[in-house]
Amino acid sequence: MDLKGKKVILHDMCLRDGMHPKRHQISIDEMIDISTALDEAGVPLIEVTHGDGLGGASVNYGFPAARDEEYLDAVVPKLKNAKVSALLLPGIGTVDHLKMAADCGVSTIRVATHCTEADVSEQHIGLASQMGLDTVGFLMMAHMISAEELLEQALLMESYGANCIYCTDSAGYMMPSDVTERITLLRSKLKPETEIGFHGHHNLAMGVANSLAAVEAGAIRIDGSAAGLGAGAGNTPLEVFAAVLDRAGADTGVDIFKLMNVAEEKIVPLMDELVRVDRDSLTLGYAGVYSSFLLFAKRAGAKYGVPSQDILLEMARRKAIGGQEDLIEDVAMNMAKEK
């Protein structure tokens, strides 16, 4: 494979998606320590917020160790080169959160919706773009619709003012051919100046292969996470993907050995449990279930005495989408009753 000289922007997720396996308990000091080390390794963009984005602090998703504002205020001024992004899910966070994040100095706002519901993002994308922020439209659970349907939604976000569109494999369900098809179509039909991104999960161990397929098909931004710290079996392990890109001749600007050290010395020791492909996270990828349901299903399974794997399969059968963590306890109670 030859990606000689091709520029790829690596975007680290361990301080946002990584909040899921950490039950949103990463401390401010840990955030500073990790983000400055990533900065030192040359990672250009780092996401920082609650796992469910700005305003995610809730009974439903979990209360974090600190407020989004405290995390952002702590991290942003410490970085020399890296920029900080914040995620926002309309329906959870509002434009007030967006303004707060901008005041804290984030460079990038990523507005995330379910892949068929782009039109709930108009006010947030519009505002972020007006404010001159790097504005990303983030289409989640993109495996659930065809490439053509995804394009329709991407065009909406582009029309609201997004300068970058993501195909997001929230369930880690996609195969490289699925990624190629979607990214190729987005690349050919969106404006040439609109960047394309891909966000993978490693539930079928396809994170690296899918991200590579995305780059080959024209994506320029790729999400990953040092040591894969993220929901489900984690995100695309960023140090692995950086090394692969380096072998292929792509230009990421990242020092792969420094990044390997961050993963090995800072992220792995931080893990409460090893983030890996296990029975439950594999089920997420196999059945197409939103990755952050994992710990909720494990907890509900333990509380109500039903297998967490069965809960996840039932969530897939019910076509649950991102954010429906509240359904998990109800499903577990029903399953316990039927036993």
Partner: protein, 298 residues
């Protein structure tokens, strides 16, 4: 039935039409006018139901409010035009029931605070909060009337097909207005609202999860009893309002799971989120009509 209050509906869309069909069955409300801004399917339907119609907006209705003795007007349009509609209608002496998120009048969640509002006398404008608010705030209030709730959080999951373009353009208005009403009407010290729009086919019936954090350890028996009693109150006007499973108690967390199925008048049954708005608005109008008939309101 000379006691029936004569009413107009502004907005001949899905909500307005569903409201019209419910109002036509009412013992207390007699719908007379349907107001739109142009010829449309909704206007045609209203005409077929025997309504007088305006296709020139609220200005087409205003000259007839006194002549036709219209006392109640429902606004099922959008927050952007509501204030103007309300002012014009109030000038002619009619009361406004606001189904938009404009919220210029006091919030009204019928089983929670309608009695209180009635006790305060005539109102020019009452606001029906949001669909999520109508579905969930009764549950927050059911807990807070037993003991102090320091935090109330609701998650409303609705079918994509039941969420119109107005709501989509300003989804923050849903989260803000609902959160505010969880505090003001639900009685929680702090409120948070989350909405999930799910495109599954066949469309899912509206689901709501209501989390309350009580200040002291929850009195499980009293709270459970209060919740069941409140469910019955809501079922008086939304028969498809159902408690799923028993309330969950986990430390100071009290969680209830609900499903809201609509009557399927004009809107499909899965869109309980829309049905509960039209049903609550009509219920509010009926209670005002009853109070007026009994001479409780001037």
């Amino acid at each position: 039935m000379s006691n029936k209050l004569r009413a107009a509906i502004i907005g001949p869309g899905n909500i307005g039409t569903d409201l019209l069909m419910k109002a036509m069955r009412s013992d207390w409300i007699e719908p007379v006018w349907m107001v739109g801004i142009e010829e449309s399917e909704g206007i045609k339907r209203a005409r077929d139901f025997g309504m007088k119609v305006s296709t020139s907006g609220v200005d087409g209705l205003v000259p007839y409010i006194e002549e036709d003795k219209i006392q109640i007007v429902f606004d099922a349009t959008s927050a952007y035009v509501h204030e103007e509609n309300s002012r014009k209608v109030n000038e002619k002496g009619a009361m406004m029931i606001d189904l938009t998120p404009a919220a210029i009048g006091p919030y009204c969640i019928p089983p929670v605070n309608l009695e209180t509002l009635l006790g305060e006398g005539r109102k020019e404008n009452v606001n029906m909060v949001t669909c999520g608010g109508q579905a969930t705030i009764p549950m927050v209030a059911a807990v807070s009337r037993v003991q102090d709730v320091e935090y109330g959080e609701i998650v409303a999951t609705v079918a994509s097909k039941s969420v119109g373009p107005g709501t989509r353009k300003n989804i923050d208005e849903f989260t803000r207005t609902t959160a505010g009403a969880i505090e003001k009407i639900g009685g929680a010290d702090k409120g948070k609202a989350i909405i999930i729009v799910n495109p599954a086919e066949p469309p899912l019936i509206m689901r709501d999860t209501v989390h309350c954090i009580t200040k002291e350890a929850p009195d499980q028996e009293k709270i459970t009893e209060s919740i069941h009693a409140m469910v019955k109150e809501v079922q008086k006007y939304v028969p498809g309002y159902t408690l799923l499973n028993d309330p969950v108690f986990d430390g100071n967390r009290v969680t209830t799971f609900l499903e809201v199925e609509g009557l399927g008048d004009f809107l499909p049954k899965y869109s309980g989120n829309l049905d509960i708005m039209t049903a609550a608005a009509l219920r509010t109008a009926e209670m005002y009509a009853e109070a007026m008939a009994n001479g409780q309101l001037a």
